[in-house]
Amino acid sequence: MSASQQWNTLQQSRSRRLGRAAALAQGKRVEADQVVALLEAVIEPGDRICIEGNNQKQADFLARAMVQTDPARVRELHLVQSVLSLPEHVDIIERGQVSRIDFSFSGPQSGRLARLVESGRITIGAIHTYLELFARYFVDLTPNVALVAAQMADRQGNLYTGPNTEDTPAIVEATAFKSGIVIAQVNEIVDTLPRVDIPADWVDFTVPAPTPHYVEPLFTRDPALITETQVLTAMIAIKGLYAEYGVTRLNHGIGFDTAAIELLLPTYAAELGLKGKICTHWALNPHPTLIPAIEAGFVQSVHSFGSEVGMENYVAARPDIFFIGADGSMRSNRAFSQAAGHYACDLFIGSTLQIDLHGNSSTATRGRIAGFGGAPNMGADARGRRHASPAWLKAGREGRGDIAMPRGQKLVAQVVETFREHMAPAFVERLDAWDLAEAAGMDLPPVMIYSEDLTHIITEEGIAHLVRCRSPEEREQAIRGVAGYTPVGMGRDKRAVENLRDRGIIQRPEDLGIDPRLATRDLLAARNVKDLVHASGGLYDPPKKFRNW
């Protein structure tokens, strides 16, 4: 060991940064009009920066401040954050202040981002899943400076993040314990917090923002927009998948297809005698469309990644179901809920834009780098799993065959209508993800769910039990067999498909005893947002854009 070796360079760097910022703060408090100066004081060229945000809450005030910093001082940044979804996240790239990005999801900015990548103005390290990116915060992508959002701070700098705690604990823990700087925008500073979600000594600065941080009501699906086809695929899912495997622990995607399933639990599933036998334990945000199933006694427990706008009072009034603090409000945690979805759930079901002949699925389309969010964590077999359940064991017996070592398998289902809007086929020979990977020079095509993990496909044509296929050829025909009138579906070998149907690998609605003509919206436990409010006993307070009464 060299005597001259410095072991505390990070701490020294932190001290220098805090020294430069000292004049801007009173205690930990920095006023809003000083925040650009604060960022310029604490950020150094080449820093890894996390601007907190995901598909729900956003540190939007701090993001706006970032694009007002001097590009000569705040430059060569490496963004390491869940989403690039605010215009400012991409503005700061266009301003030339960012050299590299590692992220999970870009939603509304996906087109702009694709153009920047294709013109060589930005390098993408990788598009991660949420859990994967959080994991790298603790290995090789630890932020030097984290800009986070909280509902309240007290005068010591403790934070209350409340129902929308989301990513904050993961980001702050990684940053604070590796000598980084944590800046929190808060909606208000109070004397006493309802509870402490982040302790003050992990937080360096609190900034009262002029407007409350933005939260996207991403998980609110208006039942009025659910189609009869989605009712049909929900019936197929409940009978052909949930009842068949006895699925009790699960996660749902955010689409209308899965909202339809939630709304059929108190009606169709109850008529089938499935209450208490399926869908009791969830890793799920507080979906408003789950209210009728909760009220009907279907649901025993829900842990959430984040909250949902308008659901706060309802959730707080159901502490047996949700995770509620001593203060009476929910605590969410994206990292823990993602881990729960991966390891503790037997089923993931969601929708996608494209499925190929192998069963790889992707939401990437030409010219858009959208990313994944958390779906791949839930929609993947957890190979480290070591606890059994009936659903997991049954899937394992079907998927792995007669191997000597007993082992289960996660059920991973994609539910799609064979054609999307504008007659775009959901089944394709080749995913657009390949073109995107080529155009952007990515190492991997952005595949959301890999073929090897996908066990089921559900369409209006029926359910394909891919997990029961014995060869790649069978698997391809099983996929073609539920692909309807898409070119992939029309290209099926009719005899092979009938053979798969005889063996129960493909099941049509009639094979499950489902008459598609009975798949009407009358089966939905709520047919509009107002019905959801009624079902909640008036506790659900939907955002204005979902109110039409």
Partner: protein, 104 residues
């Protein structure tokens, strides 16, 4: 906008039939009108669709329809406002059921 007529060989519809209108035009929806036709061994379908270039898919959907249902002797008019094949098949089945009083 595209308009075409397809005539398919079909098993004769046996039961008493009445004209029926099923489905309403809305976004992603369509109108189906079932009437009595001339030839008891054929089903004639007139398609008027807002989406051009999908005639081969219409032919496949309609071929499956007459295979599943004894639609001979029926004349069907479809007014499509961009419905997917799933919706077309469902509405056809519903319209057929209405027109035959439930006889498959």
């Amino acid at each position: 906008m595209e308009r075409f007529e397809i005539t398919l060989d079909a098993r004769p519809a046996g039961a008493a039939r009445r004209s029926a209108l099923c489905g309403v035009v809305a976004s992603g929806n369509l109108e189906v009108l079932v009437e009595l036709g001339q030839d008891p061994a054929a089903c004639t379908v007139e398609v008027s669709t807002s989406a051009d270039g999908f005639r081969d898919i219409w032919e496949a959907v309609l071929a499956d329809f007459v295979e599943r249902h004894p639609a001979g002797g029926l004349r069907i008019s479809i007014n499509d406002a961009g419905a997917t094949p799933a919706v077309v098949s469902l509405r056809l089945a519903q319209a057929f059921e209405d027109s035959t009083g439930g006889a498959a």
